[in-house]
Each structure stands twice: as structure tokens, then as C-alpha cells.
Symmetry: C2
């Protein structure tokens, strides 16, 4: 089974070679990671809630019967800071032993927010990750520098087109890809609704689109990547990615909200793949659309996606048809670029909303290090898709 290698890989990460009879205290490094939670309610209630989180997220046991010693002292979360943040909310920074995470994304997220996700009035604001925990993950394989180097685009924003709408055949989507590629687009992705439908099979689509993009590239002499949506059932994610690579895919897009919170990591870490990964936010919206629950935009779409190894993280730009604010988008962009234990910086990939009017504002927030996702706009500007692509490439180049 191909999982075994990873089992061992993970095992090495925090393993202090425990012997039978080794005490818990000898197995813990003492290194802790932190989570700041925003808590709604009065100060007393908020503090009680913080204390409950310390237990709920670890021992899931009442305080009075939690065994004294290293379990109470080190496994149970600790409130490191508690303060008012205004607007009737409080911030509690709680620390956990890194060993509780088992060095995996799934168990890390379980400790951060597993059962507490069912508690109203608790929002994960920010993660504080020590280098030892960050070191358990490979992180982004390419990041900004790697992608720019591959594409030969040193400084302007990158542009990504989406193949759509659902219902077109693989041949029709490949024709679209060809036209966009001729127009100089950097990245061409499947729309996230393209799966393995009877009217457009995954393998046929990947084969045709990869071929079309390669053909266009040989005409223009420019590099670009075709990025299929590899979101799939649990037992088809890696096989699908392997097959897509064989068929000529240059990168992958995946929706961790659907394929699992570990989907980005498994694609990014697999050395037999070795291609860039774009994380798409489908089905993750309920974590951010309420002010009082879930995650902050920066923690979910920035910190977690980067830790998972995404080279690009998609989210809807402000002013489009979704509700993310300019400030929330900036938060994501900041988390893509801030110092993070030596991990590569990654691209925020705001979707939609690019107009000549808004170009300067996007430049102000993102600088030039972003991937502009173009959907309907690229199709609608005129009936000539290649000319539309050229038009937007020119606009982006002038930023």
C-alpha cells in the first residue's frame, strides 16, 4: 500500500523512539503551538469558554477527573493570554503540545477546532506555529519564486483563465484552452465544477486540454500550465493526479473542502508528482461567512493552505459576487507572504472582479504578487477569446 511510506515518514517527524514503559512526560518535547480564538459574550462567559476549549480540544474530559501529572500539565490546552478586543469580544490564545497533532494536517485541525466547531461564538483568528511543527510539513513545493521561474514571468501578476461552462464537451473546452493559451495566459484551469461527468470525462478532458495547451505553447514559444481539477472521491484523488500528470497536466487544482483538508498536502508532498497545487475554496465558505464562528480568512485561506503546501490559494476578490471584504482579502495575502518558519511564500489568487477601474486598488492590496483568476470576464469581453486574453494580459502587465 502506498500509504506505508508516508506512515513511516510521519513517524520519523516527532518520534522520540518511545520504548514500552516510557513516561508520557519523556515523549513530549515541551514545544507548543498557539491558536488565538475570538470569543463572543461577556468576559466571564468568554473566559469559561476558553477554559472549556482547553479540555474539549484535547482530553475531551471533565477537569475534575482529568489525571494529574503530564496529562493535566501538558496535554490539556493552556490559556496563554486573554484580553478584550472590543465589540463585546475577547481573544484567548491557547497553546497545545505539538505532539497532540501527530504531525498531520487532519489531526492538527482537529486539535485547533474539531469539536469546538460545534460551539457557537468561537472563531479561530490566527495560528502561532513553532518551527518544529512547521518542519513536520514540506509546505509549498514551488511557491512564488518557483512558479515565476517556471513560467518565466519575473514580476507582473500572473493570470489564470477558467475553462467553462459545465456542459461543454472535452473537445470544446480544449478549443477554449487553445485560444486562451494563444492569447498569452499563464495558467489555464478547469472550472471547479468540472469533475468526471458523463458529458465531459476527466481523462478525455485532461488529455485534450493538455494537448491543446502544449500545441499553443509551441506556437507562441511561451510557457504555461494546464491545471485540471483533480478533486475526486477519496480513493481516486492520487490515482487521478498520477493519471493527469501522465496525460500532460502541468499543475493541479483541488478543493480541500470537498476532497478533504489533507488533499492539498498529499498532492504537494508526493515526490512522484512534483507539480504546483492550487487550493480552491469550494464548500469551505461556511467557515468564514459568519463573523462569530469558523476561521478568519487569513487563518483558513492563508495560513492553513500554505502549511498544507498550496502554491496558490483561491478566494473571491472583494467587490465581486461574494462577500469577502478588501480587508479580509488583504489578510489572506499577508498570510501568504509573512515569515513562516522558512516556508516558501505563495500566491493569493483572487477570483473575479478585475476591471480597469479596480486594477489600481488590487495593486495596492496585493502588490504584483498575485494570480488574477479570470472567469466570465475573459469570455464576455468579446467573442474572440484570444483577443480577450491579450487584452487582459496587457492590462495586467501595466500594473
Amino acid at each position: 500500500m502506498f500509504g506505508d511510506k508516508h506512515l513511516d515518514g510521519t513517524r520519523r517527524r516527532f518520534d522520540n523512539s518511545p520504548m514500552a514503559g516510557t513516561n508520557l512526560v519523556d515523549l513530549l518535547s515541551g514545544v507548543r503551538f498557539g491558536v488565538s480564538y475570538l470569543l463572543s459574550g461577556g468576559e466571564k462567559d468568554a473566559h469559561l469558554k476558553a477554559k472549556e476549549i482547553c479540555y474539549e480540544q484535547t482530553v475531551e474530559f471533565p477537569e475534575d477527573i482529568t489525571p494529574a501529572g503530564p496529562i493535566a500539565d501538558s496535554i490539556v490546552g493552556k490559556i496563554e493570554e486573554f484580553s478584550a478586543v472590543g465589540g463585546g469580544r475577547f481573544r484567548a490564545r491557547i497553546s497545545y503540545a505539538i505532539e497532540c497533532t501527530a504531525g498531520t494536517i487532519v489531526q492538527f485541525l482537529n486539535v485547533v477546532f474539531g469539536n469546538t466547531s460545534m460551539q457557537p461564538g468561537v472563531k479561530v483568528e490566527r495560528l502561532f506555529l513553532p518551527n518544529r511543527l512547521i518542519g513536520a510539513f514540506r509546505g509549498p513545493r514551488f511557491g512564488r519564486e518557483g512558479l515565476r521561474a517556471f513560467l518565466g514571468v519575473p514580476s507582473r501578476p500572473l493570470v489564470c483563465a477558467a475553462l467553462k461552462p459545465m456542459g461543454l464537451s472535452a473537445a470544446e473546452l480544449a478549443e477554449q484552452a487553445y485560444k486562451f493559451a494563444l492569447g498569452g495566459i499563464d495558467l489555464i484551469k478547469d472550472d471547479h465544477g468540472l469533475s468526471d461527468q458523463v458529458f465531459c470525462r476527466f481523462e478525455e478532458r485532461v488529455a485534450r486540454c493538455a494537448e491543446a495547451v502544449a500545441r499553443a505553447a509551441s506556437r507562441t514559444g511561451r510557457r504555461l500550465l494546464y491545471m485540471p481539477n483533480v478533486t475526486a472521491p477519496a480513493d481516486r484523488l492520487l490515482p487521478g493526479a498520477y493519471r493527469a500528470k501522465e496525460l500532460g497536466a502541468g499543475a493541479f487544482m483541488v478543493c480541500p473542502g470537498l476532497a478533504g483538508m489533507d488533499a492539498v498536502r498529499v498532492l504537494a508532498e508526493d515526490d512522484s508528482i512534483g507539480l504546483p497545487v492550487m487550493a480552491h475554496p469550494a464548500f469551505l465558505g461556511s467557515f468564514v461567512t459568519s463573523e462569530e464562528i469558523g476561521f478568519s480568512h487569513g487563518a483558513l485561506f492563508g495560513q492553513i493552505m500554505r502549511l498544507s503546501g498550496a502554491d496558490m490559494t483561491v478566494f473571491p476578490n472583494w467587490g465581486g459576487r461574494f462577500s469577502f471584504s478588501r480587508e479580509e482579502c488583504r489578510q489572506i495575502a499577508d498570510a501568504c507572504a509573512e515569515e513562516m518558519g522558512g516556508m516558501r511564500t505563495i500566491f493569493p489568487a483572487p477570483g473575479g472582479g478585475m476591471t480597469t477601474d479596480r486594477a489600481q486598488d488590487m495593486r495596492d492590496v496585493y502588490g504584483r504578487d498575485f494570480v488574477l483568476l479570470m472567469g466570465g470576464g475573459l469570455h464576455r469581453h468579446s467573442p474572440d477569446l484570444t483577443r480577450n486574453a491579450e487584452y487582459f494580459m496587457e492590462m495586467v502587465s501595466s500594473l
Copy 2:
């Protein structure tokens, strides 16, 4: 790769053997499934939102450039019903072609709520599933009847104990399992925070707990199941489940919020496993804790988990330390038992909250067809875990 068999398996499900050049219209069966969404806001806004959902969840394309013909007529969602439900909210029932789902849980959920999850004020209330779509999934392998038959418990509620707290060694947890098993507990599960930590490795825990439970069963002559938490990284879920079965696990618990929305299905459908599956709600809470976004309790923890193949679906009972109401719990229980294209009925598994006071009220809501999850209560009643188990088994038997 073991995924290929499933690829072909899925392919058969809706496949009309498309030939090159086949028209889209010939590939669609005309069968549609429905989703009722609750929409906040004024009537005009809510209706506009419903219309946007029809496009967003399918073509993700502006209406004015969506190709006329079968894409506009059949791929785009259709508003089948729109009505006020009071409290300033509206219900829109929207239908989609079943072929859009590709016959998979992940793409089904993507069509139901993918990008719309990022839209505030939209909640999925209920799914309307035609038999042809339900037939794409195996569903629960055991269900109520199968589990009752295996355990030899014809009618009383089942009782499930949780091994905890995090920080105990595999040997200590196995001792706990042994004591609970002697006391007559039906199902013994890992706490959902037990993963593959350095202080309690997955393989050692499963081996020791399975052995302890088998030893107790041979003393009592009663059947019971040890149910490890197999929630794991994407490439370790199935290998871990296979290994756990080899080591004596009798069922599995998994957290689809962490391991992926397809995790329950892949475990339930795999014929080389063939064990009962319990779905745990960790990390799914943000979908239900706000009234205005996400899913209804019944849709998420009832309909979706059952469609995925869970034999038992865990959720926090009312009156405990979480916020689910009595009515929300009843909604889940109803979805576990209602007619659903011939799929087996499954057990609601309310966690916590069982006291002698509340016993009759639980009986009123759940009848006798539920799994009572006992956490701290089973540990706290007295220091003698076997006696505690006996005490609660007696109480439950009298329901």
C-alpha cells in the same frame, strides 16, 4: 492502483456509453435532484439569490453568455418552488440534473453548496434525492438491522463508550476497553482526538484494544465491537483501515470534516473491509452553528451521512455542552429513519447528556433506535469502570 476499480465502478453508474459527437442532450437522463435552500433577506433579493444559485452551482457563468440549448435548459439549476417561510426568510427548491454530480459524494456536495457556501444568508435545508441518484451509492452496509443482528440486541438502545483521555498509553486505553467490555457495553470507540500520536500509536492502540475487547467477550460470551478512529491523512485512510481490520477492529469511526466528505463512503463501500462505520462530526460544526448559513442538522448529519453509508451518525445531544436543540436532534433522527430510496435506516448516535432525568425525554425523541454515546459520564460515575458500564446498561435496558 486500487482506485481504478472504483473509477470504473463509478463510470458504470450513469454511463450512457457516450460516443464522440454525441450531443449533450442525449447524455442527460432528464432525472433531476432537488435542494431546498433557506434564503435570508427581502423577497426580491431572495429570489435573485435563488436565481444566482442556479448559475453559480453549475455553469458558474453569467446568464447572458450561457449557451442556449441543453446547457441553459438542463445544466443550469431550475427554481422549482419559491415561497416565504416566515421570519424574513424564503425557501427556494432548486433542481439539478443528476449527471452534474458525476455520481460521487464530493461532486454532489459541490453542486449542492460548493461556491454558494461563500454566500452569506443561504442555508441548505433539505435534499430531495431521486432513486436513480441514490442508486449510485451503496449506502449503509449494516444499518440498524445489520448492527442489531450482529450484536444480538433486538430492541433496546445501543451503548457506545469512548476511550479517553488523550495522553494515556495504548496499554492504559486497552485496560479501559477491557473493563467497559466486561460491563456489557455494545460498542467501544476511540475518542476522536486519538490519532497516531507519539504517546499512543495507532497500530499499537488498535492491536491492544482489539485484543482486550476480544478477551472480555470470551469471558462474557457477548458480542461487541471495538471501533478505532481511522481519521487520517489522505493517503493513509484506507491503508489504516485495512491494517486496523487485520488487527481486530470490528468497526470504524471517521471524521469526514477532517478526512474528507467522501471518507465515510470509501470505508463503507470497500468490500475488502465490510465493517460498520460511524461518522463523527468534528470540524463540521461551522456548517450548523449559525442559523443563516451552512446546512440544516437533518441534511448534514442525517441525509448526507446516510447517503455516504454511515451506519451510525454522531452528534451532540441537546442539553449537553454543545448547542444542538431537541428539535435539531429530532430532525437528524428523522432523516436516519425516513424512506430513502430503499437505503437502510441508520442509528442516530447522540453524545453525552444521558442522565436518569433525561432518559425518558431521549426515549420520546429517539424511540429505542439510537446509539447512546457515553463519554465522561461513564468514567465519572464511580472509580469502577465495569460497574459504571453495568449501571448505564441497566438504565438503558429499562428504556
